[in-house]
Symmetry: C2
Subunit: 340 residues, 2 copies
Amino acid sequence: MAKRSVSIYDIAQLAGVSTATVSNVLNQKGSYSEKTRDLVLRIAREQGYVANFAAKSLREASTKTIALLTPDVSNDFFSTLVLKVEGLLRAAGYASYICNTANDDEREDEYVRGLLSKQVDGIVYIGGVTHMPVRAAVDVPVVHIDHVGASGMNREVYVGNDMAQLGYDMTATLYGHGCRRIALVSVSASFYRTAEHDQAAGYYRFLQDHGLPLDEGLILEGPHKQTSLIEAAQLVNECLDAGYSFDGVVALGDRVALGVVNALKTRGVAVGEDVRVIGMDDSIYSRISTPTISTVRRNTSDLADRGVTALLAMLGGDEPAESHVIVPHEVIERATTLGA
Amino acid sequence: MAKRSVSIYDIAQLAGVSTATVSNVLNQKGSYSEKTRDLVLRIAREQGYVANFAAKSLREASTKTIALLTPDVSNDFFSTLVLKVEGLLRAAGYASYICNTANDDEREDEYVRGLLSKQVDGIVYIGGVTHMPVRAAVDVPVVHIDHVGASGMNREVYVGNDMAQLGYDMTATLYGHGCRRIALVSVSASFYRTAEHDQAAGYYRFLQDHGLPLDEGLILEGPHKQTSLIEAAQLVNECLDAGYSFDGVVALGDRVALGVVNALKTRGVAVGEDVRVIGMDDSIYSRISTPTISTVRRNTSDLADRGVTALLAMLGGDEPAESHVIVPHEVIERATTLGA
DNA sequence: TTGAAAGCGATACCAC
DNA sequence: GTGGTATCGCTTTCAA
């Protein structure tokens, strides 16, 4: 089906030289006269020559391709990360193969198996949680960016944020504005499971450090059976209907935060005054909301950058500088904590 | 760098048979005894054999891979389409190679050239506008889904909506609610250039058909230099500040609509009552807004389905049933046209 | 500077 | 039912 294209052999024939010479010219390797170079190049252009990637890969046992495994490209945060990683890799001469695992273990296995057969030179996990079965068979360098899933392979690097500290800082921000009854809202289910646990741990630690009581009624966890937005709103309503009250909300995600804000607004609560809310990821949701939502920015450029740097080092045969890279985060205060 | 994997030859040695037999067993082709089959399969499994994709592709001059070219994966509508197309192709045994062109002609050229050398079996353009230079060299089947860019190749199919009719219907919806001074807001720039022109044409035609005057002051076009959201809000403010007035807004996109709604709300206009607004794409933006935004749903499942069906037909060597497929759209009325 | 030839891994034709 | 072998397009050594 694919184009029966002109091969290096055809070019050689037309130029009256050998395939070796053509290959040299095309790859700017070895030596050749200026005359042959011009001739070969001209003919190649005239014939519309395009190198056969399969042949090249077969011969070189390398595809100059990196697989990007992400649970959900339609997620704002992940897709930004994917795009940035792709850009950096492209600049380094690597193509990216984007794989959407939909957080489905089986699908991921299938992918990884396929990727191995496709001879990808490396793998970058972006976001989500992974199980490990197939991973054992992988012997290309692997980088995890904001991805949970220890495995203990040799050429492997983790890049991410300090999620516990992040949860701590979110809580601290609210506390700084005078909040003393702070709720935690998550619609985790399985998606970010472990990462969310870390954040929750930070929240718990802050409460403890500051002598605030831990009220089980203020820990709102949804099963993530519907849109985060709807579910978060529901959790808030159930909580308030049950007679609990709070003056601050740590929302694990901007979508969740938006749901919380909407629910509060509907109940006539002055968000940013009576109740302060902070979300996470600095996504579009936090910016389009009225009032605008305070959030935590995790530097995607940094995450991508550090991850790719480590990967390229490993691809070059070097040991990466660190196997665990922590990128700093930054609290962005907006109307839901600063008030009007 | 890539795994120095067990080859078919190794399996043959260990099983004491020829590579031909191993290949047959592995591909369930030709004939072989049950005994050899079990033996070969067992050894292959034991050795963790994975077929070398490059070798296979080289030999078969086909990669069972389809390239998906989209201008912007972070766009809600496109990414949904990409995901659906990918799913359908996977089910048909094809892998997808997702390429983000960022609507950059040069980058697209680079991609297409690369794809050809990678021997993709087909190309699916999803959204956006394309120029054509490199396309001339392509001789694999091409499908355009919601994509503008005629080329006139032989194996080529267009799948999309009737954008002019869509613009017409949007206007008609507002008209049906009594609107008579209807503005058109677009932040097009180059992105959907032609598609938006079609929609605008539908809007013009409706005005004409119903004897409404065309007021140049109500045609708001932004250069798309910033977020659609911000820009749309700005356009609305400028328009109103200039003394124009309107009772309906056709927004070419839900993000644009959201910007319009926000601007109006800020100015104290009762959206859905004094001014009615309709957007397009039925994206998350139209659903999270307060008030919820009326919109036009373009059936992504249908678009993906029709496109993939046509592609598979062409890959199978058949002529596709139609070269231009128009998928119906559907107006979804919400609070911004129905009122409270 | 240039070329002949081996070989990457898998497939498929054609004998046996 | 099974196996020898040419072949896909390219890179790379080694000689000339």
